[in-house]
Amino acid sequence: MIGSSRRLGVVAALALFVSGCAAAAQTAPPAAESSESAVPVVQVLPNGLTLIMQDHRAADIVAAYLWVATGVRYETPDGLGYAHFQEHMLFKGTDKFGPGYIDRTVEGQGGRSNAFTSFDYTTFQILVPSDGTRTALGLLDDMAFRSTFDPKEIDAERQVIFEEASIETDNPKSAVLRQLYGLVFSGHPYGRPVLGTPETMNAANQAKLKGFNSQYYTPENMVLVVVGPLGAKAVRAMVDEAFGRHPKTGYVPPPVPPLAPIKGMVRKTVERPEQQAHLALGWQAPSLSNPDSFALDLVATILGGSESARLQKNLRDGERIVSGINMSNSSMKLSGIVYVQAQLEAGDVAKVEQRILDEITRLQQEGPTEEERQLAVTKAESEHAFAYETTDGVASAYGLVQLSGTLDDELRYVERLRGVTREQIRDAARKYLPVTDYARIAFVPGKAK
């Protein structure tokens, strides 16, 4: 998963004098049934907006997440970074209130807001105690439909985004992934920088950002997810009062350029100021709607997705040639990416690349053991169960899958994984991880920045 969050910097900085502060016990009475048995209620408003609701009573906190099906994927070459710029600007004032109002209102309710831009979607997320639900929905509606894009605020926010870009550059773990996406999806929107380029960002103005807003921020292009200790009827009434007032626009998503496969080796080495080296290998992967994505999820888990996976066990704990390593399969709407990322000493880069390929080859030849298959399914089941601990976990899961596949993919995910055989896992490794065609990037210590 790659994207850009409004609060990126704040989250990164929390590592300082971290851990807890103190707290009031504000837990709602648990519902009689466990949330396992609960299912979402999905309704489409007359104006085309999709509303997903789930009753969830672990705490008195409602997650109201607005997902807009726009992101880097729809940007034009001269509009790179506009989806993300748009995301920032929606917090900077509407025709009803000025900048800062949203943060004051949400935090004054004891809540939190966040926003995130990726390739297929932009999401605005508010968490509030349940009596603030109406306020939260009203704010999301105002942000999406009534933002003013004041030129003065645009200029100030542009600087914030440039600063965000330098923070990302400073963090080698995220920078190496970002650059890997560029190699794996060369020439395709999935390979573009979420934060845009200095040229496109400097050219952004009120008319352009307003135009982007009226083109993409339409009810038909929105999914609203509301999860918390509330019934569907009450939620729907509040949504009708806000989002329900906007008319249909007849929005049709624009076409997207086709994706060229990786042929042969694509290699890049970058000199960086850090003493530690970073290595990433990537392949194109199937989209969420392709049934192969389930088997490939298991491939990634078995090779490098858990503490006891093969790469962790052999390269990190056994041979000790990496200090950290992980593998992940990330499915998007049109495609996906499966990658291995490692932190290591600069002298070991070539050896580690070869060892990763060895481990892939071994899985392609022998397939996984039955124990490994079961372990990988348990891991997925567990991630699923832990996501359902919180209302925001559920709202994220539902929104993400609605924007890149179907809700049914999420609800039946574990069940489908259970049905994948060892042979299917082996075959997915053969089909999607050719050791002759992939992208590879390394960050090594050097003077250059």
Binding site: G9, V10, A12, A13, L14, L16, F17, V18, S19, G20, C21, A22, A23, A24, A25, Q26, T27, P30, S34, S35, A58, D60, I61, P99, D103, R104, V106, E107, G108, Q109, G110, G111, R112, S113, L127, P129, E157, V160, E163, S166, I167, T169, P273, E274, Q275, Q276, S306, E307, S308, K313, D317, L375, T378, S382, A385, F386, Y388, E389, D392, K449
Partner: protein
Amino acid sequence: MTRRSFALTAALILLAPVAASAQSGGVTRTRLPNGLTVLVRENPAAPVVAYSLMVKMGTRTETPDIAGISNLLQQMLVRGTEKLNGEQIAEAADRMGGSIDAYGDADYSEITATALSRNWQEMLELVGDCALRPTLPDGTVQTVRDFLVRQIRNRGDKPFDVASDKMRAALFGSNPYAWDPLGRRESVERLAREALVAYYRRYYVPGQMVLAVVGDVRTAEVIPQIQRIFGAMPAGTVASPAVPAPPAMAATREVAVVAGAQAQILMAALAPALTHPDHPPLKVLTALLGGGMASRFFSELRDQQALAYTTLAQYQARVDTSAFVSILGTAPENVPRAAPALTQQLERIRTQQASAEEVAVARAYVLGSQAMDRRTNARQAWYLAFYEVAGVGYEFLDRYAADVKKVTPADVQRVAQKYLDVLRTVIVQPK
């Protein structure tokens, strides 16, 4: 609860010495006869469970020559027991659909574990195994120590870590809060197995330990199992060592160079321990200045003046004298304007009283933070255990929340004048 599990529970209780239990706010507190405190909260929302085993041991129980020993010891606990090696521990946790990890912090050290709740008993066994029967194998000690030394080295690559290490050292002097829980390179390099064994024996005694359990489990089933696994530890307690007081505050300014695109500006002062009556108003002050996106730092320095991307204030709840730290991350060319702007913010809160509305938002932010941070079972277990280890009991949270609700604009100004009149500054920038 089924009749069958009740019968089993009853039988186990008869075998063991009786433990004293009390229930409030959905939490059951039990003191085992050997002194171990157990807290259990049932939460059926998702089929998962979390454990937090905390020990009153951390940088606060360290001296400069053994700085980092608590964290090293914790890391070793999950890398080998009499039954399992480190790899097998990780595999076992994976099989349970969970994880187990351990680390040292300033006031405490924690073994934290989660699992699918159907495996609650197996995970409890594993936590017990790691805590009670670690082998601290010599070769692994070296490997983990080398790994930690590299982590300490890598902190030197990150402008923010460099700035916070320098600030911590300036604020706390010879007090152990002066170093990061990772420790100092010179001390960690020399830590040998014998030192770890002695340290473990001294602090892993039941009177020093708290086990919190939160999740889709039954209290009546969990407590007898904890009694069975941990009840055999011989009773014991140990006084935490006396620690040198931090140096008196002085206005200092330190500038350091670290390659990278961002500059970091930190301005900080000593601040009272969590039991001090000034703790709640200073928490509200911290939220008002740099808590969330409605805070002054974020709205004025970032949103209005575009002088920062990252900017916040922190004041951590500590058993002993803590610190208020304001943080600003920005482009190097902004430093000449950003540093005075941050100073001005810290000045204004002392000279002008904040509005009632602004203080109300900050109070709501502090209270909201707590509710938000306690959404998962793992964080709930952490809170239960931490306040117990800190000696104030988990009920402290309720008293604290009540105190926060009473904080007035005058209180905020008073603590600003009391604690923020003298500040230390650290600036880290590229060249």
